[in-house]
Amino acid sequence: MRSALVVGVVMFGVAGSGLFKRAEVPPPPLDAPLPTAKPYGLAKPPFGTVSSTSCAAASCHGGGKLDTPRSEYSTWAATAFTNRKLYDPHSTAYRVLFNDDSVRIGKLLGIKEPHKEALCLKCHSTEGVKPEEAMSEGVGCTACHGPADKWLDVHMLPEWKTLSNETKYTDYGFVPGKNLVARMTNCVTCHVGDADREVNHDLIAAGHPRLAFEYTRFQFNPTYRHHWDEVMPQPDFEVRAWTVGQAVTLRAATDLLRVRAERAAAGDTKTPWPEFSGLSCYACHQSVTGGDVGRDAAHPRRPAGVPGWELWSNAAAGVAAELCPDAFPGVAPPGLRELAALRKLMQKRSPDPKAVAVRAKRAVAELDAWLAALQTAQDKGQMPPLALAAPRRFAHALAANALSADRAMLADYDWDANSAHYLGAAAMYHASGGRANEPKWSGPIFGLANELDFPKRKSGERFDSPAGFGDAKRARVRDSFRELFDATSGR
């Protein structure tokens, strides 16, 4: 009985993801009613803050015993007195503004001192913290946990525990990180960007790394020293974190597009349109010799010559939407029809900023409703634990979505699109316990990692692009996704 149910769900997953890829639904009318639900955590709390030193007292979070409770600050700041193989990169966010790369970027952009420039400090320091404290601060406690003026004195009192997450946020400005939607909504303000801060193509051209945020990958970066323990067990955490990450990242990218389109439509000459950083980097930055372009290795529905809009956050999000009830029981899959219409608008070489602004705003409302539902589901109380097979179902749907309907080709030749699917599958591999529990997956998972990795330069330095990601590599990526598809089917 149970296995029949699982098979049924798997079938649904496959059919569902295929449907997401192929369905040609007409765009919803622009006056169709929109959902109004919004998650909390979007607007910045209007409260003052304190610097991290206010949290670092030995009896509070500065206990000095790394990786243990009450030593969160010590763990976070560990780079000061340990080697840098395991550390929290947020603690060095400010310091990097002095390094050679930052100086060069600043020079090229005409910025004399990046560590004093608002453009850089918006993400490389903690808002509201005095500049003289910023050195030790980096992206400090309150950058993620919320401005502390109102909650600093009360968050250790017993009454604090009785407050709802929403109240903590709305009345006190505390970001309840246990709620995945609230947590990630905060991450993406820097890691994707918002109306106030963005890494645009000018900055990237000067040498700033592109942004490519995927929550589960960032969290499980082997060099990332965590100062907390996840309360949610595996595989639940990983499956839900990936799902929420897809929704939150896509919401942020869509809202950033809305902001840019509105500025361009208003005739702001400082806003380029289309903004290249919102398009797939390697659609343009790729070798165009011979069989490198990959037109014949895949069949995306974009017309030739159109760089995909935000493939990084769009490509696999359909799977998160379709399988949403598997991760958050009771949350229906969002239709995302506004988003589909927006993608279609963006599949033009010169999208109309006015039309894009209107549609993007509607797509954000649609995504907000999805986020609100995910957020409420977690805040409502204990969710039933996920079946052990849940990650497998997700991995299967991801593999299916990465391939064409007949699985003869990749669904998309773009590096971003394939990597988004790989990262999702890797998260699921991790969730299910890795090689010990899923020995058949490890071949394709590591195969994908290998093919998608950026080549190393001779000096050992990293290369900033998937140079050489040509048809031969794409064929191996396709084979790995097929292998993963087979390895995750059945049971």
Binding site: L108, G207, C284, H285, Q286, P303, G305, D464
Partner: protein, 467 residues
């Protein structure tokens, strides 16, 4: 002759008259049916700019005689008798139309069908005026693709009239012309290809692109980034180099008032410099046309048009830090795309005519179509003037100006477009005996550029350019 001319003057019967005359003159038993040219414009005495077809030129008594001498590299006063034969035997333009079909006459990386499919085109390439405008006689592109006569003419590829102009107005008179003046050519609708500036402009109509020419019935010629992305090769033209490669079906001579004069050794340098200026002129005209069409909301003209920019400005692996250094960028802002490279015209300050366009297109936000249109029109007009000056410039002047382009080295940074174009220029100068370097050095330099081995290419280029 006279009755025929009278007949021609009767506008309504003109088409039939040409047909009759044509049928009589060719005496070619297997002649392809020649379609009736369209009626003449109201009030015109002679139908200008109507297509006749290659067969109108190819009779044995006209241009269809033996081409043995021309094909073996000997040119004399009789070369014209076999010019059609020479074209048919060896000219790459013969294959142009076949590339639109499923039987291309040379290997292609992407077939026309593949390209059209990737562009989501509702019609095949053989029925799309944008393709036909360069893969057959441009003046037939806009005609009805269901008309078998039109199709038969198109199948001739880029034939006689594609370059020389549609022949209805000059087919007969050109046999009696003595002075061969430009005025006579213009009145009859024949392109004065003896003027190397006009010759370059004619090639560039397809090899760069051109706005529509309604008077001559020529559709817009615009091979844009959509087509390149779908698999069409990019356009990468150098007039002097392509001219050298083309099997000649004519005797090269200068038409002076006192009669024809053989070309001097400086001719290749002249072809090169005139060609570069003409190319910039053509690029400006195409840019202006793109801007005008984008402004009019033409759905097939995106803005900005990515084919306006140097391909490698985007299509390079990351990072290539030298690209953002001021030495490589000049006054171009960070992340701004380099407008197409037409070395040395777009590189140096001495070609001031094109600067406003380069500057506007290389801003952090490229100029909008409203702004760039007038700028590009102005630059094109100035470049046209410069081109005409160079065509008539004295040998000594021309030699010094073409040599001048290389003074101070080739400059800039490793970059495929620039280095390739520099090398073609140097090769033209070598042919004109303005430089004298061993052929092996050229081979090594071309090879290094092809391999994108900049470390080897740069010193080789500098050595070749040294006075």
């Amino acid at each position: 002759m006279i009755p025929n001319a009278r007949t021609l003057a009767v506008a309504g019967a003109a088409a039939a008259a040409v047909l009759v005359w044509f049928g009589l003159q060719t005496r070619s038993p297997g002649a392809v049916t020649v379609p009736a040219p369209p009626g003449p414009p109201a009030g015109a005495a002679v139908p200008l700019h109507a297509a006749v077809g290659n067969t109108g030129c190819m009779s044995a008594a006209c241009h269809g005689n033996s081409a043995a001498k021309a094909l073996s590299g000997t040119f004399d006063a009789s070369t014209w008798e076999g010019s059609g034969t020479c074209w048919a035997a060896r000219d790459p333009h013969t294959r142009a139309y076949s590339l639109l079909t499923d039987k291309p006459m040379r290997p292609v990386r992407a077939t026309a069908a593949q390209i059209m499919e990737r562009m989501h085109s509702p019609v095949p390439a053989t029925e799309d005026a944008r393709c036909l405008a360069c893969h057959s006689n441009p003046a037939l592109a806009a005609r009805d693709s269901k008309d078998p006569h039109v199709v038969a003419l198109r199948q001739e590829g880029v034939g006689c009239e594609s370059c020389h102009g549609n022949a209805s107005g000059w087919l007969r008179p050109h046999t009696t012309w003595k002075a061969d003046t430009k005025a006579e050519y213009a009145a009859a609708g024949m392109t004065p290809l003896f003027d190397v500036g006009d010759r370059a402009a004619t090639c560039l109509g397809c090899h760069v692109g051109a706005p529509a020419d309604p008077e001559r019935g020529i559709a817009v010629r615009d091979m844009n980034h959509d087509m390149i992305a779908a698999g069409h090769p990019r356009l990468n033209f150098d007039f002097a180099e392509f001219h050298r490669e083309l099997p000649k079906h004519w005797q090269e001579k200068e038409r002076t008032a006192s009669g024809p004069k053989p070309r001097g050794p400086e001719f290749d340098a002249r072809l090169w410099l005139v060609g570069r200026v003409a190319q910039a002129e053509a690029a400006c005209m195409l840019l202006a046309s793109r801007a005008d069409r984008a402004k009019a909301g033409d759905p097939r003209t995106p803005w900005p048009e990515l084919a306006e920019f140097n391909c490698a400005a985007c299509h390079h692996d990351l990072p290539e830090p030298w690209r953002s250094e001021p030495a490589a960028r000049g006054d171009r802002p960070l992340g701004a795309l380099k407008w197409q490279t037409i070395w040395p015209v777009t590189a140096g300050a001495e070609f001031g005519a094109v600067r406003p366009v380069v500057t506007a297109m290389q801003r952090a936000r490229p100029a909008g179509y409203g702004e760039i249109g007038p700028l590009a029109h102005q630059s094109a007009a100035k470049l046209s003037e410069l081109r005409q000056n160079l065509v008539g410039a004295a040998d000594a002047d021309l030699v010094s100006r073409s040599r001048q382009a290389f003074v101070g080295g080739v400059g800039g940074n490793p970059e495929w477009d620039t280095d390739g174009q520099v090398l073609w220029g140097l090769a033209a100068l070598q042919r004109s005996r303005l430089i004298d370097r061993p052929a092996g050095e050229f081979d090594r330099a071309f090879d290094a550029v092809r391999r994108r081995d900049w470390a080897s290419a740069r010193p080789l280029l500098d050595a070749l350019a040294r006075p």
